[in-house]
Amino acid sequence: MKSSIYIAIPVMLALSVLQTAVLPYFSFLNLSPQLPLLVALAWGLLRGLDEGMLWAFVGGLCMDLFSISPIGLTALAYMVAVTAVLWLQQAFPPGHIIMPILLAALTTAIYLIINLLFLRLFSFLSNLQVITTLWPLILLNAIAILPIYWLLYGLDRIFRPRRLEL
């Protein structure tokens, strides 16, 4: 887990730059997938809850650097969402293709609820009606998790091949 943070910091910083300076130009309904959240979730699915939690925290902090919301708020929302979903995921059968899609949708929903509540608490939102315009993000993230998960799965297999016992 210690070595993982050295990978997480540059990866999440790069993804946050993509999120703020590139993805808005290729958005769908003015929304773009939350790459750091999805990468943290996919990493957690592959490497366990502890690493997923840490990556979500780092990803959230990097995202906060490019937002007017108070720093730490996205980190908290990402971490709670990813940790809760990875903890719940242990109860489900592993390896099914639909699992990353469902988990990404659930993670995004939890993230949005926590994020909006805290934004309201800190007066960054005048009302919570904004959530009605954000639901497509759940769908968008649910679709976007698949290539991200497969990419990380492939990288994980290359750098950490499974031992075959005969």
Partner: protein, 281 residues
């Protein structure tokens, strides 16, 4: 997993959550401004570089959809490309500079009392719930928190946070934005509220005695002292009026195209009125 490992896991979670909450509290109370500016500053160059190339790539993808039309156009253009290519490149450079200067000149001519700083948009807020942008000018260029920001077409927002080399601008479409506004013809006043992502810009608290017209221009009223008077915000596209209510509401189409915003002007010599002294009687 052993009990010790579980304790470590949830202990880590508690520590990280505590750190996040502490950072949130410190930042929201303004105690992290200087430290965060140091961290954010180096990213200005990266954002500027990335944003410019993303714009170009997005422009390429928005090419002609119709294949047949595209082929005809390509055939025609290929015949002319060799001759005009070099000349076009030079002209494009000149045109880009000319457009920016023309926009600035037009705005300056309309309200010569203000001095403006030109800034490029280099990023958008990473939170889907917040509408804000990042511009490439900061305190080193004379930008201060609270300065109004406009485009060549109308009001954009207000400087929320300023670091030496970049600033963050809250857009008027942000959910928490509330701007005192006035209508051009009827002279009715109200509060212009942002609807957040995809939500409409609405002018609320308009007295029923006014007859609002579709197409009426919406301007800043200057009330409250946060914005100068008479900056164009948009046009009325819908009026929600019911005799059962005490006030009517106008839905406003913003004059600025926020999705394709590239250049903005920061009004640097406007002094916002500090109304904080009225907060604690």
């Amino acid at each position: 997993m052993s009990e010790a490992q579980k304790r470590i896991r949830w202990g880590t979670f508690a520590v990280l959550a505590g750190v996040a909450l502490l950072l949130t509290y410190l930042d929201s109370t303004g105690n992290l401004g200087g430290a965060l500016a140091v961290v954010r500053n180096p990213f200005t160059a990266v954002l500027s570089f990335t944003s410019t190339r993303s714009e170009s790539a997005a422009g390429l993808l928005e090419g002609p959809r119709d294949l047949q039309t595209a082929r005809t156009e390509i055939a025609e253009l290929q015949a002319r490309v060799a001759e005009l290519e070099r000349e076009n490149e030079e002209l494009r450079e000149i045109e880009g500079e000319w457009r920016i200067l023309q926009d600035l000149f037009n705005r300056a001519r309309q309200s010569p009392e203000f001095t403006r700083q030109i800034a490029s948009v280099i990023g958008h807020d990473t939170s889907p719930s917040i509408r804000s942008i990042i511009i490439d000018k900061g305190t080193a260029d004379g930008i201060r928190v609270g300065m109004p920001v406009e485009s060549s077409r109308g009001l954009v927002g207000i400087i929320y946070r300023a670091a030496p080399n970049f600033s963050q601008v809250t857009l008027i479409t942000d959910n928490a934005s509330a701007i005192p506004a006035r209508l051009g013809n009827s002279r009715a006043t109200g509060i212009l509220s942002g609807g957040g992502l995809g939500g409409p810009l609405t002018m609320d608290w308009v007295d029923l005695k006014y007859n609002l017209e579709i197409g009426e221009v919406v301007l800043t009223s200057g009330l409250g002292g946060s914005f100068p008077q008479d900056i164009v915000v948009g046009r009325v596209i819908e009026v929600n009026r019911s005799e059962a209510n005490l006030f009517q509401q106008a839905v406003v189409q913003p004059a600025t195209d926020f999705e394709n915003l590239e250049i903005v002007f920061v009004i640097t010599n406007f002094q916002p009125v500090n109304t904080a002294i009225f907060d604690n009687p």
